[in-house]
């Protein structure tokens, strides 16, 4: 007679596992996509807020380079200002291009000169302080603290963030529900198995561990597959540069850095799956078997 190996107590090629694995992989894939886009949105908002908070623009409306230079001097000496420099007429013209066309700007058009101000990260002065200082020097100059942009940007980033988090929460719930469903189905199908193991003297923990392990492995496997797929898709999107909007460009900058989130997904899946299975079985045993 051939060597007889100790075989698994739980049937390990359960015909139900194939599609279950498939469903879990898809759910993980989607959850991963939302996790990354949520992480990107969070990062983007922080990134933009930081960028916008650390920068102001001062507009010298008469376009006079000397006035601009005067403003630069005053600003450089203020507390909280890291650096300040005046833009060139060319830069200003570029900004107007979308509206006036490139060759259509007459040389005598008095285009306002912009002075860019970099602020310290902490304790930076607000726009009224800056305009106060400039007005004190007799300069009629307007200060733009980019609040309008900051608000619009962070509002749309927040809605993306909110949506991603909501979808993520839903998918997560779906994942847990699927695991719970599969466990219950597994238990229902293996009712006799559980009962026999119980009556033959297996401890509750031993039986629960059997089912827990099964779902830990399933969670790890489907988590790794789904997250891997998601990583590939995201990398593809970033590299392929789908979407040429500035929002997408910011994503690209941040995107790769956030892919580590995906490493968590299979772990979370495995823990959720294993835990759900383990405790469903324990509860079931306590409830239905002496």
């Amino acid at each position: 007679m051939a060597e007889r190996k100790k075989s698994a107590l739980l049937p390990n090629n359960d015909e139900r596992d194939g599609p279950l694995f498939f469903v879990m992989t898809i759910i993980v894939f989607l959850a991963s996509l939302s996790a990354v886009s949520a992480a990107i949105a969070v990062q983007s908002v922080a990134h933009w807020k930081q960028a916008l908070r650390s920068e102001m623009t001062v507009q010298v409306k008469n376009g006079n380079p000397e006035t601009a230079q005067q403003a630069v001097e005053i600003l450089r000496n203020m507390a909280g200002v890291k650096s300040a420099y005046a833009g060139t007429r060319e830069e200003a013209k570029q900004l107007l291009e979308p509206w006036l066309g490139s060759q259509n700007i007459p040389d005598d058009l008095p285009i306002p000169v912009l002075v860019y101000v970099q602020l310290e990260d902490t304790g930076y002065p607000d726009s009224s302080k800056l305009s106060g200082a400039l007005a004190g020097a007799g300069l009629n100059i307007s200060v733009d603290d980019h609040q309008r942009w900051a608000k619009a940007l962070s509002r749309s980033a927040q809605s993306v963030q909110l949506l991603s988090v909501a979808v993520l929460a839903l998918l997560f719930t779906a994942m847990i529900a699927i695991t719970g469903f599969a466990t219950r189905a597994g238990l229902a199908a293996h009712k006799d198995l559980v009962e026999v193991l119980h009556l033959v003297g297996a401890k509750d923990r031993t039986i629960a561990r059997l089912f827990g392990q099964k779902f830990i492995i399933l969670g790890l496997k489907s988590g790794a597959f789904g997250a891997g797929l998601a990583a590939i898709s995201i990398a593809g999107l970033i590299v392929g540069g789908v979407g040429a909007s500035s929002f997408m460009q910011v994503e690209a900058q941040v995107g790769f850095g956030q892919l580590w989130v995906l490493l968590l997904v299979p772990l979370v899946m495995a823990i959720v799956g294993g835990w759900t299975a383990h405790y469903s079985v324990l509860n079931n045993l306590r409830k239905h078997h002496q």
Binding site: M1, R4, S7, L9, L193, L199, V200, G201, A202, H289
Partner: protein, 230 residues
Amino acid sequence: MSLSHIGLRYGNGPEVLQDINLELQQGSMQFLTGPSGAGKTSLLRLIYLALRPSRGFVQLFGRDASLASRDELALLRRRIGVVFQGFELLNHLSVFENVALPLRFTGKQHDSYKRDVEDLLSWVGLGKMLDALPDTLSGGEKQRVAIARAVVAKPDLLIADEPTGNVDPQMGQRLMRLFSELNRLGTTVLIASHDIGLIETFPVDVYTLVDGRLSFRAGKNKGGERDGRA
């Protein structure tokens, strides 16, 4: 093993068992009989700790079952071998694995019991079916696997519920010899059976359950009729 003042009802139904008192001496062997639906299986389920009585006490190996923790109950169950009326084999495990199941939970090594299991299966006539799955067995073959699983760990107490209902009379005799053999080695044996022909051929005590009440008849070679309170 002793039951005292046991009552049992399922849900809100009538009492299936009423005021049962039963004490089995260590190393004794007895039959339990009675009409279909009398409560034999229920009584056995109380003894092998699958069920809690509605009232009264179950004592096993000197331990009150109602006071034992779930883990202690598991340990007590390992000392009991059970032949279930419905066999309760695991369909995804081979005949060999099914029979070896109780040994796995005692932490024994596969190599140490391999021969024993194979010998036992040969004795019950299944030596050629070690690797078969239960689904492919005949009714009587399943029953013999169930019996082999119950006796393989040489339990202190053996409970068999209708263990010969699906085998021919010769095989029935052979299985009974297996139980006697085990009994001679010190195992307490309790067998529920309808098979009066079979019971008559053994000189052991017989309990009869009728309408949830127990009465006792000593084995032919032992003595006269007396009350169930053993």
